[in-house]
Symmetry: C2
Subunit: 324 residues, 2 copies
């Protein structure tokens, strides 16, 4: 079968013929993939910015396809071995697509309990866009952030796959949703998708201005960290949950403990999600007929171009790879 292989860090993905992966039904089954989707994790692995990288490997955590043993259309829960503690993943936790070969290939072999029925309302490309980003958004917003109908939600940095899902899920939940970006295009797209407010975080003093107009939020999700993070405290409502699932801008500085304790704020780390989180997310997506937003679809032959497109960061929504 064909697979887009990473043979060493810093080398481009290469489309190669590789042996079909093993299967052992009903425990371990092979899925013939129709579509995969990329995550920043794939880019970071290629750039060597990840712990314990093993090559050669087929990257790709997200996939939609057909079970070889029974023909059922499925999507894959990319996380394995979360463990018994809903609070945190176990040391054995792994994500599909390194060290195990992932979904940028014509087939992938996974334990059968990682498979879930493909949401019927979605195309294969849309369904492939859902798993890892949808799971991460669900846990951040709904489990850690405990967003509830009527809550005011602020998604800091709209555009990426997880952030867009956070906005979609919060809107479907019945929250008042604000987003931020430095891109006016992304802000306009978010407004068009239903966001109640959209602000440019490059605008000086914007967070203090929101607070001065009593625009405060019960749940704030952020994946940047860094110096700007401290300003999120200003727009946090009393009792708010500020969830961080990334740190592209580095360390968080200048956090006021007085604001944190007086407002009884919670700053909550979140990454990926448990099997229960995945099942809840999928149920929510089906009930609310949520459609993942696809930024662009690349053929498997252009997997490296898809990676470069994601790394560039101008996309809105998920970068998908069509396989069959």
């Amino acid at each position: 079968m064909k697979a887009a292989r990473l043979n060493a860090i810093h080398s481009p993905l290469q489309l190669e013929d590789v042996p079909l992966p093993p299967m052992d039904p009903p425990h371990r089954v092979r899925v013939k993939l129709q579509a995969a989707a990329l995550n920043h994790r794939d880019v970071w692995i290629q750039k060597g910015q990840y712990a314990a990288i093993v090559t050669p490997v087929t990257l790709g955590s997200d996939g939609c396809g057909v079970r070889e043993d029974n023909g059922e259309p499925v999507i894959i829960n990319p996380g394995s071995h979360w463990g018994p503690d809903e609070r945190v993943q176990s040391l054995a936790y792994t994500i599909l697509g390194m060290p195990d070969d992932g979904t940028l290939a014509e087939c992938v072999s996974v334990p059968a309990d990682r498979l879930h029925p493909k949401p019927p309302h979605l195309s294969a490309e849309e369904a492939a866009a859902l798993p890892l980003a949808g799971l991460t958004a669900w846990r951040a917003l709904c489990v850690r952030g405990a967003a509830r109908p009527g809550d005011r939600v602020f998604v800091n940095g709209i555009g990426g796959g997880v952030a867009w899902f956070c906005m979609q899920f919060a809107l479907a939940l019945g929250c008042q949703v604000y987003v931020s970006s430095s891109s006016e295009e992304k802000l306009a797209e978010a407004r068009a998708a239903g966001a109640h407010g959209a602000v440019n975080y490059r605008q000086p003093g914007i967070f203090k201005e929101l607070a001065a107009h009593n625009e405060l939020f019960d749940v704030i999700v952020d994946s940047a960290g860094g110096e700007p993070f401290a300003q999120l405290l200003f727009i946090a409502a009393p009792g708010a949950r500020i969830v961080t699932y990334g740190g592209t801008l580095g360390k968080i500085t200048q956090l006021s403990p007085q604001i944190i304790f007086w407002k009884q704020l919670s700053i909550l780390g979140s990454t990926m999600g448990s099997d229960a989180d995945f099942a809840a997310m999928l149920d929510f997506v089906n009930r609310h007929q949520i459609r993942p937003r696809i930024a662009r679809i690349f053929p498997l032959e252009e997997a490296q171009a898809a990676m470069d497109f994601l790394a560039y960061g101008a996309q809105i929504g998920k970068v998908v790879v069509r396989i069959a």
Copy 2:
């Protein structure tokens, strides 16, 4: 009656004769005080480091005495108007002892629903030492920190009233408790009181050393903030709760978002506590026969000396003022 009055910020407390406070039983009752206790709040008000200070006023949030209307020995819940949201106090929340006249007086008048039976196993001085610090410790450790039997608990900066209660409550809960201080005397006293571990935070690299020996903690309580706070992430177990209830060292810097999200940590602000928290704390103290630790007892005539002693910060446990 006699009261230790603060007539203006930066002026010493003055023992004065003032009119008896009003009462309106059964709604508002007068308590003849036997003992009061001090909190840093009193010192900060005197130093002008508090919002919306009103003088002249009788300071003091903690008190134990006898109800004038029925002779029942009582302690006072110093918080009023928490409001309906257990997550956070309402804007109407106040603490006894500014703006309302407090307990550094022969009598205090409070709404009857602020009164609770004095724990029978305690002296009046011990009972007076309990309310505000015990409430703050309870919410930080058990409500926000969700400490459970068997958890490993780290109390950063042992010695003050709240920190000492955190240690006592955690020990009574059946936790493994470590404490830190820069004072070898305080560390020795904590060990003598049952702490399983006691480390000097001035020792270079101590937090990384603990982590290297896999000494990790499920609940960490801190009231300093500042630059050292970031090191608490090293000793946080996966899924840990780090509770901050103070910020004497100023802003928190250099927090790694990667550690926060990968370990799924929760950094939780906590201040005072709700009526439900107070009732739960009091029930716990009674069931476990916990005795507040008293650093020193001053007569009401020496209330200013008691304030200075607290401000100096060398004490272990609560500073109490005996009134009758």
